[in-house]
Symmetry: C2
Subunit: 700 residues, 2 copies
């Protein structure tokens, strides 16, 4: 979207005037709810109910149609069903309405061809009139800052709204208000709750990209069921990135079963889940696995903490909480901070003699008799430079404990250091006191650690995020051509030209040429039938390893020739290759995802790549550092670094090759749509790597 388009879409968040086409007197009907909400939540603009059968609705003067209005409304909410909705859109588009929200359902989400055609017609009418359409099947939009609550959700009657620094944008109506309800029950204010429905024109991502501009927001939550176009999501991520706004996305349809449910219910396109992961990671978006995770760490984000490290200090009056906190932290890679000797001596002067001064700190049941233990040790701990974050665990307290002081002193730690502090307190009365002190409280230490870990990882992700511009090669540019497989010699040549080292080889048209190649390479060689018709060479028996003599070669050549002939495949020659030696067979693959564009896959190679995949995905453009991060997450990562006294492998050389493949795939001019290099044989550090087998597909 350009600036003008963004401005037009922004209108829907705070319009000067709204028409409701199909307005109802009954506030419990879809056509009545928006009127109720606009009144109740303090909307300042004009409200025009449209209903030919009424002169008034819920106290507003009603009009028979748009033409009868004293002005053209900026926004229209269309509640009437089916064909009437299509007519409503036509009327709005003609009148110069900026944005229409179609609430009626029974369009593109059904399998009815007529209903689907109506949805298509809505898009055409809107575009012809320069209008944007949200929906159909939209539960509506709600902005509690402007009072523009153009929604029929029941939830705003169930959980009292309050303006706050969180925005929710969702394709699903239900999933827009479920996180709203969960956050409101924790007392968190939510400004935006938008449900876009079928996304026939305006997508959830586009709307989110406009919402993300609001300076007061501290957290943006998305629920997505399918991504049809990655560009608006990427633009949203750039907008959020520019102002440091964290974005968490719950993208459902993670599994085949979930995608099937989405397809059969809403016709949603299935996205490949690992590509979605890679896309979100590249753009600094945290992917929540479920509704719980979408809202779990909200309080931490709202504090605006910017921690730089992962070393945790934990304090509890229970040794068991200390143990379980260390377990939980360790399991997610957060080390317990090693306290300085100054800190430890200071602690020794405060704590009872039988308490230890190692982190996690168990102040023991002595806290019951001396509530000052907390206030005395917290300042000491907060001064230790090894402490990056804090967890306070109070599993049990009651009479005799000065919980108000614990809460106040805990809050002082984060207020003075700016470092994050989370609380674990299962007792509601204790939790309430810490919450009143402005601290994030969880029922268990595991949940507190999980929230902290999410914040730390997400901030790292945001720092490392890449926001490719609009020049990136997108799959749409490639549609329409005919895919063509290159033979292996051409594949290797193309890769080599692109910067991927390949094994020494020669394409031989005759048996004599092949024998000469063997002599030239001077060692055991491999001979492979080379043909652009043939994918599974080894299964056809046209790969011969370890050929040493001229005689071997003549026999192999004749045999390969015969087999290809019998199989009916074109013989482009026999590829004679030096036998590659190295430490490990890795692989590099690449393809164009229909939605997300170029995807590069790296990992362990060999013949069991499908049966036991150990791979990571990278979305171009990426640099060597991103490749290294991906490789470090492989199961075989320890081997790459060298184990059992072995030297490290030449990861530098392999990384250069992966970056070259990324560049090739991202290049606007490239015709390559798919490639598979397996194995890439990698030697020890300094020995390089070489592509041995490769196939490249291009599009004409």
């Amino acid at each position: 979207m350009n600036q003008a388009a963004r401005a037009r879409l922004r209108t829907v968040l705070d319009p000067r005037s709204v028409a409701v086409i199909g307005a109802s007197e009954n506030p419990n009907k879809i056509g009545g709810r928006p009127l109720l909400y606009l009144q109740r939540f303090g909307f300042k603009g004009k409200v025009y109910p449209i209903n030919p059968k009424r002169t008034e609705a819920q106290g507003y003067k009603a009009y028979p149609n748009l033409a009868a209005l004293p002005e053209t409304p900026e926004v229209a909410v269309i509640v009437v069903p089916g064909e009437l909705a299509v007519e409503g859109v036509a009327e709005c588009a003609r009148s110069g309405v900026q944005v229409a929200i179609v609430m009626a359902s029974g369009f593109g989400e059904t399998s009815d061809p007529l209903a689907r055609a109506w949805q298509q017609r809505i898009v055409e009418l809107a575009h012809a009139g320069g209008m944007r359409v949200i929906g159909p099947n939209s539960q509506g939009l709600a902005n509690f800052a402007s009072g523009a609550v153009l929604s029929f959700s029941t939830m705003f009657l169930e959980a009292e709204p309050e303006d706050g620094p969180v925005a929710i944008v969702s394709q699903s109506g239900g999933m827009s208000v479920v996180p709203y309800g969960l956050l409101r029950s924790r007392g968190i204010g939510v400004r935006h709750i938008h449900a876009t429905g079928n996304d026939c024109d305006v997508t959830a991502a586009e709307l989110a990209s406009v919402v993300a501009e609001e300076p007061d927001l501290k957290l943006l939550l998305l629920y997505l069921e399918s991504v049809r176009d990655a560009a608006p999501l990427a633009q949203m991520a750039r907008v959020a990135h520019r102002r440091g706004l964290p974005v968490i996305a719950l993208k459902a349809g993670r599994t085949a079963a979930g995608q099937e449910a989405a397809r059969s219910h809403t016709g949603a396109l299935a996205n490949e889940d690992r590509v979605v992961d890679a896309f979100f990671e590249q753009h600094g978006i945290w992917r929540a696995r479920d509704m719980g995770e979408l809202v779990h760490a909200t309080e931490l984000y709202l504090r605006g903490w910017q921690p730089r490290g992962r070393r945790l200090v934990a304090v509890s009056n229970s040794g068991a909480v200390c143990v379980m906190t260390a377990d939980a932290a360790s399991a997610c890679g957060m080390p317990m901070a090693q306290l300085s000797s100054e800190t430890r001596s200071a602690l020794a002067g405060i704590l009872p003699s039988f308490a230890t001064t190692t982190n996690p700190i168990d102040v023991t049941a002595a806290l019951l008799t001396n509530s000052r233990l907390f206030s005395d040790i917290l300042p000491v701990l907060s001064r230790d430079p090894a402490a990056d974050a804090f967890l306070i665990g109070i599993p049990v307290a009651g009479q005799g404990y000065d919980v108000d002081a614990f809460a106040r002193d805990s809050a002082a730690v984060t207020d003075q250091t700016g470092k994050p502090l989370v609380v674990s307190a299962p007792q509601p009365s204790i939790a309430a006191k810490f919450r009143d002190a402005g601290l994030p409280v969880f029922a268990t230490e595991s949940e507190a650690v999980a929230a902290l870990n999410q914040l730390l990882l997400h901030l790292d992700l945001m720092r490392a995020a890449v926001h490719p511009g609009s020049g990136t090669r997108m799959p749409s540019e490639q549609v329409g051509g005919t895919p063509r497989m290159m033979n292996e010699a051409d594949s290797l040549a193309l890769l080599n030209k692109s910067g991927v080292p390949v094994v020494e080889h020669r394409l031989c048209r005759t048996s004599d040429e092949a024998a000469q190649a063997l002599a030239a390479f001077g060692g055991p060689v491999v001979a492979k039938g080379c043909s652009a018709d043939l994918v599974h060479k080894s299964e056809l028996g046209v790969v011969r390893l370890n050929l040493r003599t001229e005689q071997d070669m003549h026999g192999a050549f004749a045999d390969i020739e015969r087999r290809l002939r019998e199989h009916g495949s074109q013989l482009d020659g026999v590829l004679v290759q030096r036998m590659a030696t190295g430490r490990r067979e890795l692989m590099i693959g690449a393809r164009l995802d229909p939605v997300f564009g170029p995807v590069v896959v790296v990992g362990d190679g060999g013949k069991y790549v499908e049966a036991m995949p150990d791979v990571e995905l990278l979305l171009p453009p990426f640099d060597a550092a991103a490749v290294r991060r991906a490789l470090s997450r492989l199961r075989i990562a320890p081997l790459l670094g060298g184990v059992r006294g072995e030297p490290a492998m030449d990861i530098d050389a392999f990384t250069v090759a992966v970056v070259a493949v990324g560049r090739l795939m991202a290049d606007d001019q490239s015709k390559v749509i798919n490639l598979d290099i397996n194995p890439v044989v990698v030697g020890s550090a300094g020995e390089g790597c070489r592509a041995v087998d490769a196939v490249v597909y291009t599009i004409a």
Copy 2:
């Protein structure tokens, strides 16, 4: 424990008389709380406060010492500190008290040698008098059926107790009442809440084993920080197994950091975590990873459901909930049930035309206008034999929805079919209605699926559980001897005798013998220096592969001899082996765990076993089925079955070898304490397997 010992320990759960040594008038002191609780919670037995300074405490007549009492109390609670507590134990033991609970802390959990000696003295005094001791450092025991609440926990003032079918036994005081508080806040009654403290005599497992006998109990929860002796835990598991009582254990110290925290706080012994996992699995105990998981599925256990399958049917008024339910179920291996064509036609007659009849079932927003949709489709779904379990998801409801009917109709499904049904409902008002109908309700579909999955897996675990009798070889029997490494020839011979196939080999004392062996095997062979001094053969260069000629062999023999001599190792001969061929190198290892006894490890073999472990643990005794289950969980499992058109490997033969190792390790007479067979070369089905390298350690 024998029957008499069990009966004596049982006394503490419902004593006829209790003395409190160090009784206090102040109900907020440790010595005052038990008096308060005994009165408040309806204890029917006699209560004797012991305090030489008082004649009365909280309305009870007080006595100066045990001797002054009109009878010997069955149970004594000792609140006085340090040496006074030791004297109290002596007095109790002399008087014939059955069980004493020592609440005072500052004993074995400290690093003070005097305090630790006191604890040892307590054990000696008790044993001399035939008394059992719980504690020291015990928060006490609470039984809300008998009113025997011998505890000083503050929590019973914070959360009103109610008798119920759950028991909690914990080493930690805090972790006994945290799950209590979490369950009570969900309205679940809890009968037993016991905190055993330092376990100097009675262990948490022993107490749990007596608690587990109670017929009304439906769930037993354990919190353990360290296991010093596996036998009482095994006995507890047998008791629970006999009456089908599910046991869930939270064993903290899962990670190195957690174990370090436990050690520095309470001196807890570190257990190897994977062995703990294997032990719990063998005994049908579900291991909770954290406090949340310990209590998460309680409502499901209390229903007593006995589902037989994992196929889920989900119904929601939100398509998004359907998608996320399918995602969550699929991610934990619960397939969505394939509904029969009868069911689907029946659904088609009920649901709106735009709804689909595939599972998960989205009844759509039409539920708002027709609340009968639910009551109409649920009976149809519950009749489908493919449905093993149900999830009802109501993300949003309110005015216009007949939620009472939804809850009633949902409850009818499980009441009539006996199949489990869980509910996902984030809105508290909706959740309350389903809860009132007796159904387990969770805030999100992920949590509901996780609870259901836990119940299903746990019931499977209970069905497959093995409860070895007391004849099992335990590590304690082995302590004291001197470990001795066998040379490879002896190792292979012992293994072969025990039923493990080994590669064809010959131990040769001279170079000529070795050359003869080569000739006899008639192919390329391996020569290895054989010595009981030498673990890392290959690093010393005394392994020679692929020897083909007599000359090769003479050279190799001389070289091996020289290297061993230079290294100062005894040469027991040169082991000449046929080169083993096969499909994959697997491994079998075994050792005696200091707490849990024999442990067998199986998995992928080769030189990267440590760097990239892909192994499973098995605790003897185990059968072939258990080995197959373990192998099916390996990462390489697909390879074992054959991929890419390859035949399956000879898993039958490998399983026989693993069972043989299990038998060898479990044998009371066996002197083997450790063995490592890597690789075991496995061929295709029918080709067998052969141990190639092996080392066995025995104890004299």
